[in-house]
């Protein structure tokens, strides 16, 4: 029996993955899946602390079709309180939305799937560069540059971080320097660097990642040469991480 109450029904939209398992255990609800072309991996954790209460009798894996889930989550308002409930050997997952202001209670059930999938993860590594910046800024850069080209080169050095691309119609570059906003710390840009890094990534995926911007006001990009890029959106009680393999040479 799983019972979890989420104060905010965070909107989880992912174009990357269609079906995946939500693994529920003592520490919280985790999701890990790779996109169909196996270039990107998404990993999400909603820590148990984020739920109040969080009760779990035994570990369960919930196979969910994300398209269906999104449909149901759309019925909720952002401020609604969400409760997830399921059996130990589940066929369905029930979602209950409680209105924050009024007494509206809506109950939905989603049919679960039995997904036989290999569980893949990216080992934790030390990154050569970690850049944290406002998520809106990152989203804008990705969106702007995706007009020009399919891929972006990210160069991190002591001076700052440079996003550059070139396409058929021209080229563009955005450079961010380290700066501190004392009033609003979430708007500052921080660069931690052990050595300079330059890598190229597919913009199509980055733009997709940016859809998670709503979850957090800051985003952290961690890079090392010849290692996948880590894009992390930290939430109060959990995180969403995206890994993206760098482009090598001309090919993907």
């Amino acid at each position: 029996m799983l019972e979890a109450r989420l104060e905010q029904a965070g909107v989880l939209k992912k174009d990357l993955v269609q079906d995946c398992n939500f693994d529920c255990n003592d520490s919280g609800i985790a999701l890990q899946a790779m996109d169909n072309s196996h270039v990107a991996l998404v990993s999400m954790l909603l820590k148990a602390e984020g739920f109040s209460p969080y009760r779990l009798d035994r570990n369960v894996a919930l196979g969910i079709n994300l398209t269906s889930l999104t449909k149901i989550l759309r019925c909720a308002q952002n401020e609604d309180i969400l409760t997830l409930k399921t059996e130990d050997t589940p066929d369905t997952l029930s979602l209950v939305f409680e209105g924050a202001e009024n007494d509206r209670i809506s109950e939905y059930e989603i049919k679960l799937m039995d997904i036989d999938q290999e569980h893949l993860g990216i080992p934790e590594t030390e990154y050569a560069a970690a850049i944290s910046m406002p998520s809106a800024e990152f989203q804008r850069i990705c969106r702007d540059l995706s007009q020009l080209s399919e891929s972006v080169a990210i160069e991190a050095s002591k001076e700052g971080v440079k996003f550059s691309c070139s396409g058929d119609i021209g080229s563009g570059a955005v450079t961010l320097r380290q700066h501190n906003n004392v009033d609003k710390p979430e708007l500052s840009t921080k660069i931690e660097l052990t050595e300079p890094v330059a890598l190229t990534f597919s913009l199509k995926y980055l733009v997709n990642f940016c859809k998670a911007s709503a979850l957090s006001s800051t985003v952290t990009l961690s890079l090392s040469n010849e290692v996948p890029l880590l894009v992390e959106y930290a939430m109060g009680s959990g995180f969403v991480r995206f890994y993206l393999a760098p482009k090598i040479g001309e090919e993907e």
Binding site: D15, V60, M113
Partner: protein
């Protein structure tokens, strides 16, 4: 051949099968006279055997011992035995008529004069080249008003000057003859035409140009129009000769004794045993009837070469040597080859029943083979893809190695064989780029081209073609494997040689099975064109040949019309709107037999009967008495004014077919039967192609008036039939039900008479057919052929039903336009639809059909469907597709990966759809099945469900169950269990680490004590159960793999060797690959339990 399965079979090495009673001449090279005598008796026996019945088993055994002796004594005499039987000494050109079957007819020169060369074989198996002299090519031109005999000499000199050929006279003869234009009826009047004969056929195009451009307007007698002057009878020289001498392709010809002159040994142009010269007037052509429908003992060589390619690159003649050539030579009419050998580079262990010729150098081997070819002197050379691969490769290779004596494969002593690029395009078959190699005097039959031409298959590899027609698989050795085998030991080369021999034997088997030689021979005889035209030319030449033959009888001349492609197509056949649904009452089908030919006959439609309104008035013809107006408003005179030529041709064709069919019934000899069956087929095809030619605007003889009138009549007839049936079979007329025509297309209608039992429906069908037939002029006949019961009508040209011709048992399940017969989808769809139809129609079990579909879909989503079922094949027909297509993109990607194995133009590309990035187009998601297997790329099961299965299933189930039911079928609970495999390629896979999940509940095992184990702590109680399950799974998979492996070993014919086959057409191959992987994976799972036990 399947050497393994036929180990005991004997192959005879002697090639001197004497058929003459005469004593053989002692040949000089023969040093071993004792042996000679021995082989003599055997040969005579063989000759007898071949003429009567296939040799008995004792004879086989007898030959076996002799064979062994022969092998022991070494192969010095083998060359001599390859050759044809010697000419008997008593043979005297003064006394014996020269009778032979001509197989090729070509233009040639002899003694500096243009001649026709007839290559052929006598009944005793001697090769013949006959030079036919004094035949002149000619053309006609309409004589202008006022042109009389007095002008002839002047006109001749005038043309002579225009042509300016120097000393040799260019014009052989100019004369006035009374002829008639083929096009249009002009009251049966003959008008004067000038026939111009030239000495050299090459002058004809020049002469034609001169006249047509108005540059040969003698004394300006022809009215000066802008178009110049029309010429008549534009026929190629060879066809002209055959038409005028009444020789048809593959027919027998005779020259009486004394009328022909043997060519002196020194002047001989060819390697034929008899080379003679004859004047065209002494040549007798025998029609292919009675005694002369036999076929001479043609020698048929089937061969295959193997090349040692480099890794990943398709063999190229400039780099990669030819390492083996396998040959089989069979005499027509015998079931077993009498020569069976293999030429190998390097040593090769001996092979049962096969002569192995080992060579140290490639050059020597090639020269040895070339010598063998000339010695064995085959009349027909067959093989698989020889035209585009083997022939050009051998020639290019020999050129590269500078082997001067190699490329002489023709029967003409100093004519080299050379590969030429040619492209063939026809409406029927699309465009194909091919290479053509000349082998003057020998016919070529590339089984690949032939099968591509006559049969629609999913794949055209030799393997799948033989699996389809012979029910026999062969091991498919990938070309990179060949080099490995070649570089191994004598035994590994033996393995390759066996493989090569099989490749040489299969075309032979295919040819026998498909009866290509017989059917094509009959087609050549019926239509009158040379044999090699049948493969290299389209339909039109066959009709032209028949038309000219008939035209000559009737003194008609055919104008040379420039092709004028017309844009506006005429109306085609009609389709009665289908009343869709599922019918559980018998549906009778009424067909018009040979609709279009019979319309042409019934209404006397022909080039010669087409009449203009002005002509009608001028001749005072009366409507409906003298002429008829067709539904399209064209006028044709009736048969009593003039019988059309096309109807005559059709009458002859259909009459001959009837006769052939009657003969077929009485025939007892299997060969005679085969010939007759081939003939009636050829006749049917020819009759049906006539309509097409009149409608082909780019062709030589277009006549849209005929074509559109034919379809016009056809449309009217279908509608009339519908009306007749529906008005007669009504309750008002005393029948139990009102009949309803539920569908009709081109030449057939489907009628629901109403009664629920078969016999009544059949009775009504027969009666209706007879009743309606009376309403139409002869020979139009409506036939009752079959009843469909039950019948599922999905849409226009899409239906399925059980086919009944008798009341006891249904004949088959018939389906049209449904995915079972289309090729652009995967096997899964085909199998699924077929099973569903079977359940719906035969078992009438709707519930069962639905359950089957649900199970299938759930299997698909869980990756349990065998991959061979998911492979889609499409032909790569041209390079510049405007829209991106899956198979084109894949071919491009494969070319980048490995240029050698990538498909080329004309190949069928096999692919599966794999999961791609979000929003990726389908064409980006195609992948090579082998690549998918090797890297376990996940299959896009959704694509198969939604794009492949959904629509056809929806169409079939729609008339049977409700819409909601159909939806549930595709999205029900059974779609909720899926399985996704992790690939070994993809950007992130280099970095990702796999976390094991619990086998009981799929929870990732991340805790320290659980890592590497099989179950999580919660599922520990189920340990025993899960372990049991896994062990069972592993052993099941092992058994499955073992069985597949043995299956493949059986197929390759040896249980002691590793399986090296990588055939893409073989379902077992995919299963075997998948089983292999599954065993490995399951084994890994099993080992995880060991970790758990330790705690």
């Amino acid at each position: 051949m399947a050497p393994v399965s036929k180990k005991r079979r004997m192959i005879v090495f002697d090639r001197n099968g004497k058929r003459q009673k005469d004593e053989p001449s002692e040949s000089d090279e023969d040093s071993n006279s004792h042996k000679k005598v021995k082989s003599e008796t055997r040969e005579q026996r063989l000759a007898r055997g071949s003429q009567h019945a296939p040799s008995s088993f004792e004879e086989d055994l007898g030959r076996l011992t002799e064979e062994v002796n022969e092998l022991k004594t070494g192969g010095q005499e083998q060359h001599q035995k390859w050759s044809r039987p010697d000419l008997p000494e008593s043979w005297d050109p003064k006394e014996e008529n020269l009778i032979f079957q001509q197989i090729e007819c070509d233009e040639g020169t002899f003694d500096r004069k243009t001649t026709i060369q007839l290559f052929g074989v006598t009944e005793a198996g001697h090769s013949v080249l006959l030079h036919v002299t004094d035949f002149y090519h000619y053309l006609y031109v309409a004589a202008p008003i006022g042109f009389t005999r007095q002008h002839l000499a002047g006109f001749r000199t005038f043309l002579e000057n225009k042509l300016q050929t120097g000393l040799e006279p260019a014009i052989a003869c100019v004369q006035i003859l009374l002829r008639q234009n083929l096009y249009g009826y002009t009251g049966n009047q003959l008008s004067p035409y000038i026939k111009i004969d030239v000495t050299d056929p090459k002058l004809i195009p020049r002469l034609r140009n001169l006249i047509e451009h108005g540059d040969a307007n003698y004394e300006n007698m022809w009215p000066a129009g802008d178009g110049g002057t029309k010429t008549y009878d534009a026929l190629q020289f060879v066809m002209r000769f055959m038409v005028d001498t009444k020789i048809s392709g593959m027919s027998w010809v005779e020259v009486p004794a004394g009328e022909y002159h043997l060519v002196d040994r020194r002047e001989k142009l060819s390697s034929c045993q008899i080379e003679a010269k004859v004047h065209v007037k002494d040549l007798i052509a025998h029609p292919s009837e009675g005694e002369y429908q036999k076929i001479a003992p043609l020698r048929i060589l089937s061969f295959d070469i193997e090349c040692a390619g480099r890794k990943g690159i398709f063999p190229e003649a400039h780099h990669d040597p030819v390492i083996q050539i396998a040959n089989m030579v069979t005499r027509y009419g015998e079931s077993k080859p009498f020569i069976k050998n293999v030429f190998t580079l390097g040593t090769c262990a001996s092979i049962v029943n096969t002569q192995v010729l080992q060579y140290v150098s490639e050059g020597k081997m090639l020269l040895g083979w070339s010598e063998f070819l000339r010695q064995a002197d085959p009349d027909v050379i067959i093989g698989y893809n020889i035209a585009n691969f083997d022939f050009p490769y051998l020639l290019d290779r020999a050129k590269h190695l500078k082997l001067v004596g190699f490329p002489y494969w023709t029967r003409l002593k100093n004519v080299k064989s050379e590969p030429k690029d040619s492209s063939f395009s026809s409406k029927q078959m699309g465009n194909r780029d091919t290479k053509a190699t000349n082998t003057d005097g020998r016919l070529q039959l590339d089984l690949l081209q032939l099968v591509q031409r006559d049969h629609q298959l999913r794949s055209y590899t030799l393997n799948s073609v033989s699996a389809h027609f012979l029910g026999e698989q062969k091991e498919d050795v990938h070309h990179s494997m060949i080099t490995e085998l070649h570089n191994g030991t004598a035994d590994s080369r033996r393995r390759l040689a066996v493989y090569c021999l099989k490749d040489a034997y299969l075309p032979q088997r295919l040819m026998d099975k498909l009866m290509c030689l017989i059917n094509y021979t009959e087609m050549a005889r019926v239509t009158g064109v040379p044999f090699n035209y049948l493969l290299s030319r389209g339909q039109q030449i066959k009709f032209i040949s028949q038309l000219y033959r008939k035209a000559k009888e009737q003194s008609l001349v055919v104008p040379n019309l420039p092709p004028q492609p017309s844009e506006d197509p005429y109306a085609g056949a009609t389709v009665i709107d289908p009343k869709k649904g599922y019918y559980d009452v018998p549906i009778a089908t009424l067909d018009f037999a040979s609709l279009y030919p019979s319309i042409m006959q019934a209404h006397n439609l022909c080039y010669t009967t087409l009449v203009r309104p002005e002509t009608c008035e001028r001749l005072g013809l009366q409507k409906d008495i003298d002429y008829e107006i067709t539904p399209t408003g064209d006028r044709f005179v009736k048969a009593h004014r003039r019988k059309g030529m096309v109807p005559l041709i059709l009458e002859a064709l259909l009459g001959a077919r009837k006769k052939a069919k009657a003969d077929l019934k009485n025939a007892t000899d299997p060969f005679e039967k085969a010939v007759l069956n081939g003939r009636q087929l050829a006749l049917k095809i020819s009759a049906n192609s006539v309509y097409g030619i009149t409608g082909a605007t780019v062709g030589k003889l277009p006549c849209l008036e005929i074509a559109s009138s034919v379809t016009g009549y056809g449309r009217g007839m279908i509608m009339q039939t519908k009306a007749e049936v529906e008005s007669r079979y009504t309750i008002a007329n005393g029948y139990t039900h009102d009949a309803m025509v539920i569908y009709g297309d081109t030449d057939s209608i489907m009628v629901k008479f109403g009664p629920k039992d078969l016999p009544t429906a059949m009775e009504l069908g027969k009666e209706a057919a007879e009743f309606v037939s009376q309403k139409f002029p002869t020979p139009i006949k409506l036939e009752f052929e079959k009843v469909y019961f039950p019948y599922l009508l999905i849409n226009k040209k899409r239906y399925a039903g059980l086919y009944w011709t008798n009341t006891e048992k249904h004949d088959k399940m018939d389906s049209k336009g449904i995915e079972t017969v289309r090729r652009d989808n995967c096997m899964l769809v085909q199998v699924c639809i077929e099973t569903v139809l079977r359940k719906l129609l035969i078992d009438q079990d709707v519930e069962g059909a639905q359950t089957y579909v649900k199970d299938l879909i759930s299997d698909l989503l869980q990756n349990r469907i065998d991959m061979s079922q998911l492979v889609i094949t499409k032909a790569l027909t041209k390079n510049d597709y405007t829209a991106k297509q899956a198979h084109v993109e894949l071919a491009e990607r494969m070319r980048k990966r490995d240029a050698g194995s990538a498909p080329t133009l004309g190949d069928r590309v096999a692919y599966v759809i794999v999961k791609g990035a979000g929003g990726a187009k389908n064409y980006e998601k195609s992948e090579d099945p082998i690549f998918v297997l090797e890297n376990s790329v996940p299959i896009d099961t959704k694509y198969y469900l939604e794009n492949q299965l959904a629509k056809p299933l929806g169409r079939i189930f729609e008339p049977v169950i409700t819409d909601a039911g159909v939806k549930k079928l595709l999205n029900g609970d059974h779609t909720r269990t899926i399985s996704v495999s992790a690939p070994m390629v993809g950007g992130l896979m280099k970095f990702a680490k796999k976390t094991e999940t619990c086998m009981g509940c799929k929870i990732p095992l991340t805790k320290k004590e659980e890592v590497g184990g099989a179950v999580c702590s919660d599922c520990k109680s189920r340990f025993g159960e899960l372990y049991q399950k896994t062990v069972t799974k592993v052993s099941e998979l092992e058994v499955k793999f073992g069985r597949l492996w043995t299956q493949c070993q059986r197929c390759q014919g040896s249980l002691h060797c590793e399986v090296i086959c990588s055939s893409r057409d073989c379902p077992i191959f995919y299963m075997r690959m998948k089983a292999k992987k599954d065993v490995v994976d399951a084994g890994k799972d099993l080992r995880r339990f060991d970790v758990d036990i330790s705690w």
